[in-house]
């Protein structure tokens, strides 16, 4: 099971942060060529990220590169330099239409072919940062077989709406909800926006809990200190794992008995409950929690 609980932003023009970024245990690293790099440093950052991809050992961490938006003159050059170094994923900011994604896919395919890289190696993730993008979210999420995740860029999105971003996040509630629906329909991961106050650990935890409850599969983070908190929220609880184990056992027993109706503690177990339990167990197994709880 590929986890994308945390996506750590790393400025593409900061050598020391790039050199260290893989040691903090985030599921995905986002080497950034966009907002954290000034227009005067785009070229230098491209080279830095290119050589980081070539020489650094990222071990099993998924590595994505956030290129510049398709409304800028930089994105094609970003791809030219980056795709040959085989990043796992390209993240496109400010996605607004399915046509953009098709164009991006074509460009990636062209460079993959030219560089002798297996076609389809490079996955795509996009962020939705405008009302227009949100309205097209499902089409965007299904525009390419490379697409694996969509995210919301909270700062740009609230700017587009003309509202202030708050700690409570009510202004993003509808957008988050719609994005989750689009992602689930398209069967791709859905990643929540960053929580910008790195010293507010409680605020981060609350926002992450809300995101998890809404159906988000992960959250972007801007400081390694945020990683353990987000991971902790996305970890299934001991009770959830135990409950999932009970449900699967009940099903096995029912099958053995040839019983058509399955119940646990007097409650009917139907297909969605079974699927949910399987997802919990799969996640618990990926995180190595299954043995621990089973041993209890």
């Amino acid at each position: 099971m590929k986890l994308r609980r945390t996506l750590l932003y790393v400025p593409g023009n900061n050598p020391s942060m790039i050199a260290d970024c893989m040691i903090y245990g985030s599921d995905t690293i986002l080497l950034d060529l966009e907002d954290s790099v000034s227009v005067f440093e785009k070229d230098a950052a491209r080279f830095l990220v290119k050589y980081a991809l070539r020489y650094l050992d990222f071990s099993n961490t998924e590595v994505a590169v956030r290129i510049n938006g398709m409304d800028t003159p930089y994105w094609k050059e970003d791809l030219e330099k980056i795709i040959p170094e085989k990043p796992d994923m390209i993240r496109l900011p400010k996605a607004e239409t399915a046509e953009q994604i098709k164009k991006l896919d074509e460009e990636i395919t062209r460079i993959e072919k030219k560089s002798g890289i297996k076609e389809g190696h490079t996955r795509i993730m996009v962020s939705i940062e405008s009302a227009k993008g949100l309205k097209n979210a499902y089409e965007i999420a299904t525009a390419s077989p490379r697409m694996v995740a969509i995210a919301i860029g909270g700062e740009d999105f609230t700017a587009d709406l003309g509202v202030k971003r708050t700690r409570e996040g009510n202004e993003l509630l509808v957008a988050r909800g719609e994005l989750v629906l689009a992602a689930k329909a398209a069967k791709v991961d859905v990643i929540d926006s960053v929580f910008t106050d790195v010293d507010d650990e409680e605020g981060l935890r609350i926002e992450t809990e809300k995101a998890k409850a809404m159906g988000f599969t992960g959250k972007s983070v801007i400081n390694p200190r945020q990683i353990p908190i987000v991971h902790d929220v996305f970890k299934p609880t001991e009770e959830e794992i135990k409950e999932a184990i009970k449900i699967t056992r009940a099903i096995e027993e029912a099958y053995e008995k040839g019983s058509g109706v399955i119940s646990l503690n007097g409650k009917m177990i139907d297909k969605p409950i079974v699927e949910k339990a399987q997802r919990v167990l799969e996640l618990a197994e990926t995180l190595g929690l299954l043995k621990e709880v089973a041993a209890c």
């Binding site: 020391s16 050199a19 260290d20 040691i23 903090y24 050992d57 390694p224 200190r225």
Partner: protein, 507 residues
């Protein structure tokens, strides 16, 4: 000749390090005996007068303590007075020197100071001495090595100048009261016991008798009152905040897990922590585990910081043995908490007494400027070969503790920290059990059991050679620093044998 850990020690400098502690013989040294008369006035009007009365002459040895850290005014006032009196060719033997002591360069150039024996050197003074400013090599001793040398007579102090935050007319001293309070006066307590003449310099002269008394009047010859002995901001230069650096927090997290899985984390354990950000973060993490498992530490040792004092206050540690306070919270704790005990440097770390505190330690966390694949540690010379640190209690605590943990980033800037061979050895690898970096943990092969324990706990254990490889893969191998033939520093191990020498840097 080569010493036991392969360092070239020229003939005639002293006994090369043998790999084992040398056994002492003979009797302890002492100070001259004096008659004290009833109602004698010890308070003198100025430092110059006290120097005259002390009989300081060319060629003698003077000492200071470093409790005032970067805020020290006393060394400067005393050397100015000595210079005015025309006294030359002195040996300066402070417990350590800081960046605020760069002015000593001028006194070396004038011939006032011709030798230095200290724990550390920093700033411009360190740079100049590394380039051969001083005629004689500096002798570097640990915090336990210095009292050993004083008590054996190897370092005889003629006049000890003791900066005293609080003193009375009879010469009783403490470090906890007054505008320049720094807390424990542990390093000066040894000087007071063994120097021929002791001069207290205070900015807080009180009525006889003061309370508490850390250095008694029986050891003090003269008292001088000055406007200020130190700058409070500089005195607290040792104060550190909890780190927010993700890398330091990661190292602290791993170091805490090493402790939790070491087999030593049980009720009644003892520990020494440094003052660095990572050490404080370890305290924070251990605190949670101690509460959860209902474990209390029996005692903490060494330089004490506020967070450690807080553990005492919360009852998570039963006693603190304090040789120096790193911040005001620690000073207040020493003053007000009866379980926070002041100790002298000999009690702390001297191998040649009948039982020093570090010998009772379970765990110590120490830092490193460099560590090599034999686990030898350098904490004195920088990547440019210059003297920039201090021996401190590093080798003493490492020798005494059952588990010695080095915490260090694997790289600093573009430099690898795990190397083939450290520039200068302060602590031999035989005293080090484990090195914790953000990219892995290496256990000294001598401690195979610990290696297994940490592996079983799922910690990222690898060999020290692997750590070196990981660092060099990113940084490359730096060109070696170019040294000349002149020996500018002699590094004594805690038993007085020579563990390494420092040669002059060539620009």
């Amino acid at each position: 000749m080569l010493n036991a850990i392969g360092r070239e020690i020229p003939e005639g400098l002293g006994t090369p390090y043998s790999g084992e502690m040398l056994k002492p013989s003979g009797r302890a040294a002492g100070h001259t005996i004096k008659l004290s008369r009833p109602h004698e006035n010890k308070v003198l009007p100025c430092i110059k007068e006290a120097i005259k009365q002390s009989g300081l002459k060319d060629g003698m040895t003077i000492s200071f303590h470093h409790h005032l850290r970067e805020g020290d005014h006393v060394v400067s006032m005393v050397l100015a007075a000595i210079d005015e009196l025309g006294i030359r060719d002195l040996k300066l033997a402070p417990s350590s020197l800081n960046k605020c002591h760069d002015f000593i360069i001028d006194y070396i150039k004038k011939g006032v100071i011709t030798s230095i024996e200290t724990s550390g050197l920093r700033g411009a003074l360190g740079k100049e001495i590394s380039r051969g400013l001083l005629k004689n090599p500096v002798i570097i001793r640990s915090h336990g090595g210095r009292p050993r040398a004083i008590e054996t007579g190897e370092l005889h102090i003629d006049i000890a100048f003791i900066a005293a935050p609080c003193a009375d007319s009879a010469g009783n001293i403490n470090g906890v009261d007054g505008p320049s309070a720094f807390g424990s006066i542990g390093y000066a307590m040894v000087d007071a016991k063994y120097a021929d003449t002791v001069i207290a310099i205070t900015d807080n002269l009180r009525k006889y008798p003061i309370e508490p008394i850390s250095i008694p009047s029986t050891l003090v010859d003269y008292v001088v009152c000055v406007d200020s002995i130190g700058d409070p901001e500089g005195i607290m230069a040792g104060a550190v905040r909890f780190t927010r650096s993700p890398r330091e927090l990661l190292i602290a997290d791993l170091a805490s897990k090493v402790i939790l899985n070491s087999g030593l984390f049980k009720d009644g354990f003892s520990m020494q922590m440094g003052s660095g950000g990572a050490s404080l973060a370890v305290i924070r993490q251990l605190k949670d585990a101690m509460k959860e498992k209902n474990i209390r530490a029996s005692f903490g040792v060494g330089g004490i910081s506020g967070p450690y004092a807080k553990l005492l206050e919360e009852g998570l540690v039963e006693k603190l043995l304090d040789v120096q306070c790193f911040d005001l919270q620690a000073v207040e704790s020493l003053k007000n908490n009866k379980n926070h005990l002041e100790m002298d440097a000999s009690y702390y770390a001297n191998a040649y007494n009948k039982g020093c505190a570090v010998n009772n330690l379970d765990i110590v966390i120490l830092s490193a400027l460099e560590i090599d694949t034999d686990f030898n540690v350098n904490v004195i010379t920088g990547s440019d070969g210059e003297i920039m640190g201090a021996s401190g209690g590093h080798s003493d605590a490492a020798y005494g503790a059952k588990l010695t943990i080095i915490t260090t980033p694997l790289m600093r800037g573009r430099l690898p920290i795990v190397v083939d061979r450290v520039q200068t050895i302060i602590t031999p690898g035989s005293s080090i059990d484990v090195v914790v970096t953000e990219r892995g943990i290496a256990v000294n092969p001598k401690n195979a059991e610990l290696n297994e324990r940490l592996k079983d706990a799922g910690l990222p254990v690898c060999s020290i050679e692997e750590l070196k490889y990981k660092a060099e893969k990113i940084t490359g191998k730096p060109d070696p620093v170019q040294f000349g033939d002149k020996i500018v520093g002699i590094v004594e191990y805690r038993d007085g044998s020579i563990i390494d020498v420092i040669r002059n840097v060539i620009d």
